[in-house]
């Protein structure tokens, strides 16, 4: 069971690692790295769904009737673009936070706002 569904185990491992980093890390950049890992696990989940046993490349060919499903890849292409935009926006916010607070540590930022 474990060997047959190994893709899901990889997904779960990656997902939990990313999620843990997002929650536990106080560094704003590391949080975004965790978020990326978390999203990447979902990309793998989708792409592994598209694999069909003995499936061929999904381009029409003579003598082939069993094709892999190309749709998840297309969906994930879109999701990757969304992920890139999220990362860019997140990092842009971090740059501005760093310019304003001179820190990217959550605790330090909170401390500065408290004293406001």
């Amino acid at each position: 069971m474990i060997a047959g569904l190994y893709n899901y185990w990889i997904v779960i491992l990656l997902m939990m690692t990313g999620f843990y980093v997002v929650i536990s890390s106080g560094n704003l950049v590391k949080k975004i790295i965790g978020l990326n890992l978390f999203q990447a696990s979902v990309f793998i989940l989708y792409i592994s769904i598209g694999k069909i046993a003995n499936g061929h490349v999904p381009i029409l060919q003579e003598g082939v009737s069993n094709y892999s499903n190309p749709l998840p890849h297309v969906l994930i292409l879109t999701a990757i673009v969304v992920g890139v935009s999220t990362t860019a926006l997140g990092l842009a916010l971090v740059v501005r936070i760093r310019e304003t607070y001179d820190s990217v540590e959550e605790e330090e930022i909170h401390r500065q706002d408290e004293s406001l």
Partner: protein, 492 residues
């Protein structure tokens, strides 16, 4: 010919307008485009609502590909109603935005501001209109990304951290939704919501279906800001530019609630979502806690935008309570409150924006004597506040009345107690403001200094709508009850 293309136009008009806004980048021109595009989407949504009321569901396919292969839009009474709310609020608030944005945002950023506004509108309308689960995720991210950017443009430096926090939590929520959709796709092989609804009952009793449902609900819970997943909301609304607070408070969470309704009622079906899964109980408990705790926290806020934000969390609690009843009456109350809450929060945030424009603050201590300095603005604020409490003759009363009736019909009297307690707490936090504005001793000079007409008119339009829909309930209750019936599968 054009009437057939309405569903595409609903999304394409603001999208193309956003591109023109980006090129133009001049504040006045960008604002004109924003207003014109919002007004055009409002016209489209009213035309569609009219068509749906008369002749039923509109189906639209993209690229000439039939439904399961291409992306299909499907407009029924429920999403026509939500589209109408979103586009109307965008139009009214964009009138207000001109003066507010000029005073709060640097000139060279205003073009970007309006571009992000239109993209956010595109996203919200797209989420509502689409009949494809993955397309929904894409539009959700379009609206979310642009709203992070909009919030980060707030003048206070805490707007940056608020936007960052929202970005992290919002992305986790959206990714959870993506996982949920992926699991459903793995199970059924389709992303079209109609197909999903047909194929899910056969496989509903599998662990994959239950897991997918759980991921979807938690992800949507984050987007809805359902207690205890609301942590991003107070800061985001408190430090965003005034116009953004008004726009997002009245639309963003409403659209997320709509998506929850769509998945619970149309895709999974009531028996599975509220029967087999413990969602009804969860929503009832979380909704009650949200109403009581968020209303209590709201009382202690010194920043009024923050107070209204906590009040929004409480209002989301009411929406959740209506869904948890799992009856047509409860759902009618939720849909009604969706509309009424958009009106009251719109009015309140716009009025607060007028005050921020004039005195440059939204802190309670600066409100002394404001009732005499800005009588019209405070008048609109008070009407919105009364509606928020649920005083008879205002829109807020109608939705709470329906919610209480639905709870009693079901025999869940503790919910009735929660609703009344929440309203009493609302009396306290609204009264604080009224007391400070009208009864406290004003600082020094109290010459009259109103906000400009372009800001007052939207505030009063929304305030009058609160009164109108408190008296003339046929229209709002009629649409809401028909929409609720259609979600329950009863042919209206």
């Amino acid at each position: 010919m054009i009437s057939e293309q309405l569903p595409a136009l609903q999304v394409v008009v603001p999208l193309i307008a956003a591109a023109f806004c980006l090129v133009l980048a001049r504040p006045l021109g960008a604002w004109l485009i924003t207003f014109a595009a919002s007004a055009a989407s409002m016209a489209v949504s009213f035309l569609m609502l009219n068509t749906v009321m008369d002749s039923g569901v509109i189906d639209y396919t993209f690229g000439g590909w039939a439904a399961p292969f291409g992306i299909a839009y499907r407009v029924d009474l429920v999403n026509a109603y939500v589209l109408m709310i979103v586009s109307t609020i965008s139009t009214v608030v964009s009138v207000f935005a001109r003066a507010s944005v000029t005073s709060e945002i640097e000139t060279h950023n205003q073009g970007f501001f309006y571009t992000a506004w239109l993209l956010c509108l595109t996203g919200l309308l797209g989420i509502t209109i689409t009949g494809d689960a993955f397309n929904l995720f894409v539009f959700l991210e379009i609206s979310s990304l642009s709203s992070y950017a909009l919030i980060a443009m707030g003048a206070d430096r805490r707007a940056l951290t608020a936007a960052y926090q929202y970005l992290i939590m919002g992305t986790i929520g959206a990714t959870f939704i993506l996982i949920g959709v992926g699991l459903l796709y793995a199970l059924t092989g389709t992303l079209n919501m109609l197909d999903l609804a047909q194929r899910l009952p056969d496989v509903a009793n599998t662990r994959t279906a239950r897991t997918g449902f759980a991921f979807l609900t938690v992800g949507l819970g984050l987007k809805i800001a359902l207690f205890p997943l609301h942590l991003w909301l107070p800061n985001a609304y408190a430090y965003a530019p005034s116009a953004v607070s008004a726009f997002l408070a009245a639309t963003a969470t409403k659209v997320a609630v709509y998506v929850l309704l769509r998945f619970v009622f149309s895709v999974f079906g009531v028996e599975f979502a509220l029967g087999a899964m413990p969602l009804a109980l969860g929503l009832a408990i979380l909704g009650s806690v949200a109403v009581l705790s968020a209303s209590t926290i709201a009382i202690f806020q010194q920043n009024l935008k923050r107070m209204l934000a906590y009040s929004s969390v409480a209002q989301i609690g009411y929406l959740a309570l209506g869904v948890s009843l799992a009856t047509p009456a409860g759902l009618t109350a939720t849909l009604l409150h969706l509309f009424n809450h958009a009106l009251m929060k719109g009015a309140l945030f716009v009025a607060l924006g007028c005050i921020a424009w004039r005195i440059g603050s939204s802190r309670l201590q600066d409100f002394a004597g404001l009732g005499y300095r800005m009588p019209w603005t405070m008048g609109a604020f008070v009407v919105g506040g009364l509606s928020l409490i649920g005083i008879p003759l205002t829109a807020g009363f109608i939705s709470k009345w329906h919610l209480i009736l639905a709870a009693l019909e079901k025999g869940w009297w503790p919910i009735t107690v929660v609703i009344i307690a929440g309203s009493l707490l609302a009396v306290i936090y609204v009264w604080q403001v009224v007391e400070r504005a009208y009864l406290a001793k004003p600082p020094a000079e109290t010459s009259r200094a109103e906000a400009p007409a372009s800001m007052l008119i939207p505030a009063w339009l929304l305030a009058i709508a609160n009164l109108y829909f408190g008296l003339h309930t046929d229209l709002s209750v009629g649409i809401a009850s028909r929409a609720a019936a259609s979600l329950f599968g009863v042919v209206p």
